[in-house]
C-alpha cells in the first residue's frame, strides 16, 4: 500500500512526518535535519535546486532564488506590489492575473514553486521508506497544513501545489489545529486550549474545546501577513545603514546574519549583526509593535468564542518566532498562564498533519477534528454591499444558500460575485469568484427563483451549485477563481513538471557523457605526448593505428560540444576501442620497466 504523510508547507521551512507504530515522527535527512528550507533556485543551466542547496545559492545567485513564496499563494499581481521590492527575485504577471515569480528566463506561479518543495519532501519520505525496506514506498497522498486564516484562494492554491507535485491532497488542515492534535496525543484531557502560532510569515490564534477526543475549534483569527519575516525586515532596516554593498547577494548575507541574531537574542542579552552591537532590550523595543499586532486577533478570537482569557485552560505555542522571550511574555500576560512549549515549535504542525492523515486512511474514530471557516462568505448585492451567507467561525463542512431572480423580462443570465471577509462593502473584501449564472428559462422579470448553494468542505474550500426552482433546472457552475488556476492550468503544470523532470534528467546525462568523453580525450592526448610513446611508436604501433587514433580523437573533439548524448557516447567508445592496443602496450612497458627496477625514461 502506498504511503500517506503529513506536510507542513511553511513560509521559511517545510517538514514531512508520518505515523510509525502509532506515534508521529518527522522524517529527517542523514544529518538528522528535519527542516527543508522553503527555498527554490534555478541555476544557469536550468537545474532546479530546493532546500539547503537553494538557500546557499541565495548568497551566490540571489536573483534566481525564491523564498517566502507562501506569502504569494492565491494572490494577484496587485496584491503584492508593495512587497515585491523586498525580494531579490523578479515578481511579474499581468494585472488581474495570478502573480508570477521570475527565476532566470523561466516564470513560475507560486503553486509551482511550492510544488518543487512538496516534491522534495515527497522524495525525502520515499527514500526514508525505501531505507526501511518497505515494499511499496511511493508517497502519493498527503495532508497539507495552511495558516488558519488562509482564505479560499490561498487554500486552493495550496491544494493545486500538491496536485502539481503529484500528491493527492486528502485534506487541507489548519496549522494551529494540527498543533493541538499533536499535543492532544499523550493527554486524554478535556478543556479549552488557545493555540498561538507565530511563524515565518503568518500569525494565527485558534481557540479550541477538547472533549471526548473531539477537537472543536470555537474561533480562529489571525493575520496572513505577520511573522518572523517582518521582524527580519525591521532588523535589516536598522543595520542597512552601515552596509555599503547593496548587491542582492550582500543583502541576503546580511539577512542571514539578521536571522542568526534573532536566535542569539533568544539565548543571550546581546549580539552583533555585521559588526553592529544590538542588545535584547533594543531588539524588544524594535519588535514590540509586531508582537502587539498579534494581541488584537487574540482578543477578537476570545470574543468570538464568548470567553474571557481566564477561561482558557492551556496555551500552546507554535512557530519559530514563539522562541522569542518577548513573545512568550506577552502571551503569558494576555492569558495569565505559562504557555506550553514542550514540543518543538518548528515540528509540532507536521506531527499533527501526520495524525490527521492517519485518521483519514485508517478511519480511526478516537479523535475528531472539527474546524471552522476563518472568514465570512458573502455575495455582492445592490449598491456594492456584501450580504453574508456563511459567517466566520462556522464549523465546516458548512452550507449556505441565496435566492436570485431576474430584473428584466426574459433575462437568462445573472452575474454573481462571491467574496470573503468581514467588511460591509464589496471593495473592502477579498474577491473570490465572479461568474455568470446562465441557462435561466425566459420568464417575466422577478419570476425565476434561482437558488445558489454554497458548500464549504472539510478543507475549507468552497464549491457552488445553482438550481432554478420553478423548472428544476440544475446548473453546474463554471467557476473561475479571481486569483487562482483553472483545473486545466493545474493539469498542464503537472505535465510540464514531468517533462521538466525528464529534461533535467537528460541534461544531467548529457553532462555526464561530456565529462566521460573529456577524460578519455585527456588520457589519449597525454599518452600521445608522453616520452614512452616516442619509444614504442616505431616498434609496436603501426602508422595506420596511429592515424586511426588521431582521426577518432579529432572526431570526438568535434562532437563534444553537441547536445546529442548518444553521438558523444558512440565516439567516446570508438576512441576507447582505438586506443585499447596502445594502452596495453604502454601498460606492459611500464610494468616491465617497474619489474626491471628501472625508470621508464631509462629504458
Amino acid at each position: 500500500m502506498s504511503k500517506v504523510v503529513g506536510i507542513d508547507l511553511g513560509t521559511t521551512n517545510s517538514l514531512v512526518a508520518y505515523i510509525k507504530d502509532g506515534v508521529p515522527i518527522v522524517i529527517r535527512d542523514q544529518n538528522g535535519d528535519g527542516l527543508v528550507p522553503s527555498v527554490v533556485s534555478v541555476s544557469q543551466d536550468n537545474t532546479i535546486h530546493v532546500g539547503r542547496e537553494a538557500q546557499r545559492r541565495l548568497l551566490t545567485d540571489a536573483a534566481r532564488t525564491a523564498y517566502s513564496v507562501k506569502r504569494f499563494m492565491g494572490k494577484g499581481r496587485e496584491d503584492v506590489r508593495h512587497e515585491a521590492e523586498h525580494f531579490p527575485f523578479r515578481v511579474a504577471g499581468d494585472s488581474g492575473e495570478v502573480v508570477r515569480i521570475g527565476l532566470g528566463d523561466r516564470e513560475f506561479t507560486p503553486p509551482e514553486i511550492s510544488a518543487f518543495i512538496l516534491r522534495e519532501l515527497k522524495h525525502r519520505a520515499e527514500a526514508h521508506f525505501a531505507e526501511l525496506g518497505e515494499v511499496d514506498n511511493e508517497v502519493d497522498r498527503a495532508v497539507i497544513t495552511v495558516p488558519a486564516y488562509f482564505n479560499d484562494a490561498q487554500r486552493t492554491a495550496t491544494r493545486d501545489a500538491g496536485r502539481i507535485a503529484g500528491l493527492e491532497v486528502l485534506r487541507i488542515i489548519n496549522e494551529p489545529t494540527a498543533a493541538s492534535l499533536a499535543y492532544g496525543l499523550d493527554k486524554k484531557h478535556s478543556g479549552v486550549i488557545a493555540v498561538y502560532d507565530l511563524g515565518g510569515g503568518t500569525f494565527d490564534i485558534s481557540i479550541l474545546r477538547v472533549e471526548d477526543g473531539v477537537f472543536q475549534v470555537l474561533s480562529t483569527n489571525g493575520d496572513t501577513h505577520l511573522g518572523g519575516d517582518d521582524i527580519d525586515v525591521l532588523l535589516m532596516d536598522r543595520v542597512m545603514g552601515g552596509q555599503a554593498d547593496r548587491t542582492p547577494e550582500a543583502v541576503q548575507e546580511l539577512r542571514q546574519a539578521v536571522i542568526q541574531s534573532k536566535l542569539d537574542l533568544s539565548e543571550r542579552d546581546e549580539t552583533t549583526i555585521n559588526g553592529q552591537r544590538i542588545t535584547r532590550a533594543e531588539f524588544e523595543a524594535l519588535i514590540a509593535p509586531i508582537v502587539e499586532r498579534t494581541i488584537g486577533p487574540c482578543r477578537q478570537a476570545l470574543a468570538d468564542a464568548g470567553l474571557e482569557p481566564s477561561q482558557i485552560d492551556e496555551v500552546v505555542l507554535v512557530g519559530g518566532s514563539t522562541r522569542i522571550p518577548l513573545v512568550r511574555r506577552k502571551v503569558e500576560e494576555l492569558f495569565g498562564r505559562r504557555p506550553h512549549s514542550e514540543l518543538n515549535p518548528d515540528e509540532v504542525v507536521a506531527l499533527g498533519a501526520a495524525v490527521q492523515a492517519d485518521i483519514l486512511v485508517t478511519g480511526n474514530r478516537e479523535m475528531l477534528l472539527l474546524d471552522v471557516t476563518p472568514l465570512s462568505l458573502g455575495i455582492e448585492t445592490m449598491g456594492g454591499v456584501v450580504s453574508k451567507i456563511i459567517l466566520r467561525n462556522s464549523t465546516i463542512p458548512a452550507t449556505g444558500s441565496e435566492m436570485f431572480t431576474t430584473a428584466v423580462d426574459n433575462q437568462t443570465a445573472v452575474d454573481i460575485h462571491v467574496l470573503q471577509g468581514e467588511r460591509e462593502l464589496v471593495a473592502d473584501n477579498r474577491s473570490l469568484y465572479r461568474f455568470k449564472l446562465r441557462g435561466i428559462p425566459p420568464m417575466p422579470a422577478g419570476l425565476p427563483r434561482v437558488q445558489v448553494q454554497f458548500q464549504i468542505d472539510a478543507s475549507g474550500i468552497l464549491s457552488v451549485t445553482a438550481r432554478e426552482l420553478r423548472t428544476e433546472i440544475e446548473q453546474t457552475i463554471e467557476v473561475k477563481p479571481s486569483y487562482g488556476l483553472t483545473d486545466e492550468e493545474v493539469e498542464r503544470m503537472l505535465l510540464e513538471s514531468f517533462e521538466h523532470a525528464e529534461a533535467d534528467f537528460a541534461a544531467r546525462q548529457l553532462i555526464e557523457a561530456r565529462n566521460e568523453a573529456e577524460s578519455v580525450i585527456q588520457a589519449t592526448e597525454k599518452s600521445l605526448r608522453s616520452p614512452e610513446f616516442a619509444s614504442i611508436e616505431t616498434t609496436e604501433i603501426s602508422a595506420d593505428e596511429r592515424k586511426k587514433i588521431e582521426s577518432v580523437l579529432a572526431g570526438l573533439k568535434m562532437v563534444l560540444k553537441s547536445t546529442d548524448r548518444e553521438t558523444i557516447q558512440k565516439w567516446t567508445h570508438a576512441l576507447n576501442d582505438a586506443t585499447q592496443h596502445l594502452a596495453e602496450v604502454m601498460m606492459n612497458r611500464s610494468v616491465s620497466a617497474a619489474l626491471a627496477g628501472k625508470n621508464v625514461d631509462d629504458v
Binding site: E211, D212, L368, T395, A398
Partner: protein, 171 residues
C-alpha cells in the same frame, strides 16, 4: 446545554467526512451533506437569536420580509430612528463641506452608543422570553419574541447604517 453539545459531538462522530475517505462516492457525498446539515443546525440552535428566528419559522410566525418589519417599528424606536437619520444627514453635510474626519467620526461613535445599549437591552429580553417559551410553550410568549426580533432587526440595520458611514469616511 451540556446534553446538546454532547449529542452534537456524537453525531459528528457518526457523519464526519473524515471517516468516509475510503467509502463509495455516494456515501462520501452523503457524509458531506449530513455533516454540513448537522453543523448548520448546531450553529442555528446554539445562537439564541438564530434559534428564535428558526422557532418562529417553524411556528409560522416569521416576519414577512422588510415591508412588514418597517410597518411594525414600535413608537419607542421610531424616535431613535428619526434622531439617528438626522444625525447621519448632518454628518454627510459636514463631510461634503470638508470638515476634518475626526469631528464627524466622533459624532458617529457617539450616535452609536445609545443604539448599542438598546441592542443589549433587547438581547436580555430575548433571552428571558426564550427561556419562558421553552418552559411553557405559551404562544403569546412566542408572539412577544417575534416583536422583539423585528425590533432587533431594526436596531441591527441602524448600526449597519452607522458602520457604512464610518466605512465611507475611511475611503
Amino acid at each position: 446545554m451540556a446534553d446538546f453539545e454532547q449529542r452534537y459531538r456524537a453525531l459528528s462522530r457518526q457523519f464526519h467526512p473524515d471517516y468516509f475517505y475510503n467509502a463509495a462516492p455516494a456515501e462520501r457525498r452523503a457524509s458531506l451533506e449530513k455533516s454540513s446539515y448537522l453543523n448548520d443546525a448546531y450553529r442555528t440552535l446554539r445562537n439564541p437569536i438564530s434559534r428564535v428566528d428558526y422557532l418562529l419559522k417553524l411556528e409560522g410566525l416569521a416576519p414577512q420580509g422588510p415591508e412588514q418589519a418597517s410597518k411594525q417599528v414600535p413608537a419607542g424606536l421610531l424616535e431613535e430612528v428619526f434622531a439617528l437619520n438626522e444625525e447621519l444627514d448632518e454628518v454627510r453635510e459636514q463631510r461634503s463641506s470638508g470638515a476634518p474626519a475626526e469631528i464627524w467620526k466622533g459624532r458617529l461613535e457617539r450616535a452609536r452608543q445609545p443604539i448599542e445599549a438598546k441592542r443589549a437591552e433587547h438581547e436580555a429580553q430575548l433571552r428571558e422570553l426564550s427561556a419562558r417559551w421553552d418552559a411553557t410553550g405559551d404562544r403569546k410568549v412566542l408572539e412577544a419574541l417575534r416583536d422583539r426580533i423585528i425590533e432587533r432587526n431594526y436596531i441591527i440595520n441602524l448600526l449597519a447604517g452607522i458602520e457604512r458611514e464610518l466605512a465611507a469616511s475611511l475611503s
